[in-house]
């Protein structure tokens, strides 16, 4: 009980002594306004001291004209005064004397007639009511005095008055009101009426620290109460996931590579043994840049790529078409991060082998946006270069990466890319959707790719998979487009990447 009392805030303390009274009385006695009292009561309700009840009620109250009449008498009363002083005058005379509007006069006259206080005889108004009847207050006047009233609680007689007065303009006003009452709980009954000290420490001030607080007590706060939301800074959640993926690769001994997003077709396609009439090289699949022509690298490399396309390498056939430099000079937004790997291969020197490289970078496809397709997306790219690397090792690296990304079940399917052989499609089992999802490709670079870039001795395991798909679920995003909507509130609210 003391616990409860200690935890009461200042306004709660102010109302506690009057809790056994009605709401209106509390307002009156506590000196607080209605809003504060209601707030205090709702706090007390949270502390299980009382139970608030609210009820919708139809209330009849005095209207605009009603207020005026209450002050200056109803027209029938005023008319009665006029007639009292001018008995048996003509209607016209009375009318002039009353100074009323047509309408008011008609209503007032009719009312007095109905009350049998006057009579019309030969065009004149005769006062016929008895003295005490005339001086007695009309039911309408009494009704106005009593307002506001709950319509449901009116007696039969009052209901009739209500009906009469309602037909007259703006004398009454009917509205709905929430009537708030409360009921004390068992604890409430013990507390109600108690005088509690209102002299508790609320906010601690520098003065209190300096001067001490003596015997004063701290008000206990309700720490379960809701508090306002605050916003904080954050790095973009996709970048947080990339940071994590980067760590997985560097932990496995991979070195990060990077490079430009605009690239010549030569590096994006030709060095990757993609024939120049391959469908991916058409405008509908790739973002080509208008009116920009790139440059080709040193002639020896260009010549060897041309030869590979036209005739192949030792022990191979090539595509058997005429390779065109112009086609290779077309500039595009890289369609995959594999061009980073291709460029990196040419920069490796003998002392760099074996080499394990990775990149997480944007790739671009000329695609219409929908829930599962972005025209700009991240790929996680990797290569392993050594004399003796093989397919099962490729699967090993991928399995390890996806395991750390949270996908325990992974499987590999045959696939096809012009630049890898064998080629692999990676699928992860989606625990929530209960199905296998395609992630993208991997494989061992064909000799047609590696020989012109690093020579015959080395083999290259390579992979590049879409990144957004594997983080959708972590962030509970259903539609890929929402990944980069940059809704600022969403950026503030999205959880931090917590995988370790």
């Amino acid at each position: 009980m003391d616990d409860i009392l200690d935890s009461l805030s200042l306004i709660e303390r102010t109302v506690v002594p009057y809790l056994h009274k009605s709401l209106n009385e509390i307002i009156e006695k506590s000196g607080l306004d209605k809003t504060s009292v209601l707030r205090a009561l709702s706090f007390l309700e949270n502390k299980k001291i009382l139970i608030l009840k609210s009820e919708q009620k139809n209330i009849v109250d005095i209207g605009v004209n009603g207020i005026h009449y209450k002050k200056n008498h109803l027209p029938e009363r005023n008319l009665l005064f006029v007639i009292e002083n001018n008995d048996r005058k003509t209607i016209q005379e009375i009318r002039a004397e009353s100074k009323m509007s047509d309408n008011e006069f008609k209503v007032a006259l009719g009312t007095l007639k109905n009350k049998a206080l006057i009579e019309l005889k030969e065009g004149k108004i005769w006062l016929i009511g008895k003295k005490e009847e005339i001086s007695k207050r009309f039911p309408e006047e009494l009704f106005l005095e009593k307002l506001p009233m709950n319509i449901d609680e009116l007696d039969e007689y009052e209901k009739k008055v209500l009906k009469d007065l309602s037909s007259r303009r703006d004398i009454l006003e009917i509205h709905q009101e929430k009537i708030i009452t409360f009921e004390l709980t068992e604890i409430g009954k013990k507390i109600a009426g108690k005088i509690v000290s209102t002299d508790l420490i609320e906010e601690l001030t520098p003065e209190m620290i300096k001067n001490g607080i003596g015997n004063k007590k701290f008000r206990k706060y309700d720490l379960t109460a809701k508090v306002p939301k605050i916003n904080g800074g954050s790095t973009h959640y996709v970048n947080q996931a990339i940071e994590y993926a980067t760590k997985i690769w560097t932990d496995m001994g991979f070195k990060e590579i990077s490079g430009s997003m605009t690239e010549t077709s030569f590096w994006n396609f030709d060095v990757l043994f993609t024939p120049q009439d391959h469908p991916a090289r058409e405008m509908q699949d790739t973002f080509f840049i208008k009116n920009v022509l790139g440059k080709l690298p040193e002639k020896s490399l260009v010549d060897s790529i041309k030869k590979v396309h036209e005739k192949g390498i030792d022990g191979s056939n090539g595509w058997g078409y005429k390779w065109a430099e112009e086609e290779a000079k077309k500039v595009l937004l890289r369609t995959h991060t594999t061009c980073l790997s291709a460029r990196a291969l040419t920069q490796l020197k003998k002392e760099n082998f074996p080499a394990k490289l990775f990149a997480i970078g944007k790739a671009f496809r000329n695609e219409t946006l929908d829930w599962s397709h972005l025209f700009e997306f991240y790929q996680t790219e990797g290569i392993v270069v050594d004399k003796n690397v093989n397919l099962t090792q490729l699967l090993g690296y991928l399995k390890e990466f996806y395991k750390k990304m949270g996908f325990e079940k992974i499987r590999f399917r045959p696939s096809y890319f012009p630049y890898t052989e064998p080629s692999v499609e990676i699928e992860i089992f989606h625990p929530e959707r209960q199905k296998w999802l395609e992630l993208g490709g991997a494989g061992i670079f064909r000799p047609e790719v590696t020989e012109p870039l690093i020579g015959k001795e080395y083999k290259v395991l390579a992979w590049g998979q879409g990144f957004e798909r594997i983080i959708l679920d972590y962030y509970k995003i259903k539609d890929l487009r929402n990944m980069y909507s940059n809704d600022i509130q969403n950026l503030r609210d999205t959880k931090t990447w917590m995988k370790t």
Binding site: N231, G233, S234, T235, H236, N239, E243, T246, G253, E256, I257, S260, M261, T262, E263, T264, D277, M283, Q284, F287, F288, I289, K290, L293, G294, K295, P297, S316, N317, V331, L333, P354, K356, K362, N366, E367, T368, L369, F375, E376, V389, N390, L391, T392, L395, G396, R413, P414, S415, P418, P422, I444, P447, E448, Y484, N486, D487, I488, Q489, L491
Partner: protein
Amino acid sequence: MANVIFSRKDFESEIKITKEIEEKINLFGTPLESISETEIEIEVFPNRPDIYTLQGYLRAFKAFIGKEKGLKKYLVNKPEKNYIVYVDKSVKEVRPFTACAIVKNMSFTDEDIKELMNAQEKIATTLGRNRKKIGIGIYPLDKINLPITYTAKESKEIKYQPLGMNKEESARDILLLHPTGRKYAHLLEHFGKYPLFLDSSKKILSMPPIINSEETGRITKETKNLFIECTGTEKKAVERALIILATTFADMGGKIYQMEIIDKEKYSTPNMQTQKMKISVENVKKLIGIEITEKQMEELLSRMGHTCKNKIVEIGAWRSDIMHEVDLIEDIAIAYGYDNLIPVLPAISTIGQESKESILKKKIAQLLANIGFNELSTNHLIKKEEIDLYEVKDSIDIVDSKTEYKSLRQNLFISMLRILTENKDVEYPQKVFEIGKVFAKNSQKESGIEENEKLIIGITPSNVTEIKKHLDYFFRKINLEYSIKESSQVNLIDGRTASIIVNGKNIGYFGELHPNCLKKVGMKMPLSITEIYLEEIYKLIN
């Protein structure tokens, strides 16, 4: 990538589809896309046009499941009298190559004809690159007088009734009026001449790769004998398509005859000469990472439709995707089963390293996040309407973008303003930043475009003093000196805009946005920003 649809009934007349077979179809490297009561849809990768037809697929798949292993032999008969196609030199400028064959003893049902047309279309659109590289025509032989001439003539010399039209039309009109003509007109209309197949009575058989004639080009249930032609721009590709068709017809029960092509040289098609390639079991073991014997290797190859003896693999003419030993090794891996491969994490000792650029970028982002900024991540492309709105000069545009994003961004300003405008009803203050690449044309660069990393910071509502406070903080935390020089900039207020100088170089600006600009984009609140090139900063930090 192409999906092929086979009749389930026809498929099951050879192989009953069970759960196990469904899984085998996937493991064969042909993902099963869907299966219904009547149809089975399979994805076929573009290196395997030989399995676009049901017959081709079943040939390969039966070997894979061990039903009919090894290289399948086809009997191809030598050309009979008049089985000749004369190639006139006039086609060399237009559509230089053809490969033709004759098939006898066929019997078609309506289903067969439909399936055949589908397969033909599939090959012509994928391998044939929408008929550009390869077009295919099939004719009832009995309506044709051999030998045949492949030639090219001017439009005015060409008049015939195309399939599906009820009167003779000129070549021009066929390209203008016939639905197939309109679809493929772009393949021919820029030439002065159009290719034609004529029979010995000078009757026009077709204008490849557009449309056959009604008279000699309609296959019906009554058709027994066929003339098949493939035309195109690459000899190898054209011959390959013919081989795929010929084997399909042979599997349907037809008898295949070669035709003699009399071009600059004489040769016969289809040429079913098998390819022979050496294979080393050592290379197989090394590349896949499995232990197998030569015998096992031979067995695995036979399940991919090859025959291997004494380390020499004999490969069907239809498998021209086999270009190198590695292609055979992949076949072996597929036959071995990707599901049987055990992933191994090897101990290749290397030192992991994040790039310096990534580390610095991350540190800058963290520094700003720590003082309450939210990082944005926007596209590198911006919208056409933004190019117009901000009057961007020398925009770097995309050819035929399918999205509303049409140009590469040259600053981060436009994207940030778009995002802030979209968020104008989100709780203020808003403090955002982005680090990203911007693009500029530069003919010195290999791609003709240079890319530079930039940082943009925006605070709204805020004035220029507020942004300068943050700029001060930023440079203090990265321990670099900077100075400022009053400048002016489009969309910013004069007298509240300055350049940022680091190490004597102008690396960016800060300032308060002009209300005209804010109104133009639909912003409600004052905004101050700073945009900085990071390259100089990266250089100075280390």
